[in-house]
Assembly symmetry: C2
Homo-oligomer: 82 residues x 2
């Protein structure tokens, strides 16, 4: 994915995952430096509603609006953060 394009799509993410990908609340995961392929896998599992439990309901709603390109770009962006 394209990290720059990904950064432009993080408006809804920062509230929980923080401006630098370090979560505001410990029940949410830090995303900074997470593996790109894992982030894509997780976002797709939320989008397909296969991933449930914990705070999954919130993420399913957020992921529902994402295209595969958005997912690839967001994954590239967050994995690029240290």
């Amino acid at each position: 994915g394209d990290a720059e394009a990904g950064k432009a799509k993080t408006a809804t993410c920062v509230a929980c995952h923080g401006a630098e990908g370090i979560a505001a609340v410990p029940v949410y995961p830090n995303l900074a430096g997470q593996n790109e392929a894992y982030l894509v896998s997780a976002l797709k599992a939320y989008k397909s509603k296969e991933r449930n439990g914990g705070m999954a309901a919130v993420m399913q709603a957020n992921a529902a609006a994402l295209s595969d390109e958005d997912i690839a770009d967001l994954a590239a962006y967050y994995s690029s953060l240290k």
Copy 2:
């Protein structure tokens, strides 16, 4: 949880998540420095089989054998790594 006790329970985790919590393969998440409460939430979602999609099947099998105490200790251990 107890990070020391958690470390002693990582025998099955290191193959995919790495000895230092940095995943061997990018489709698996890094766990080092991840938020403790999130790790507990994720492990419980695997254990309850609510979390599916991606590599969830592998994690469900691993989480099935974990007690709540194991989960708390493993979460404490991995969140303590930098």
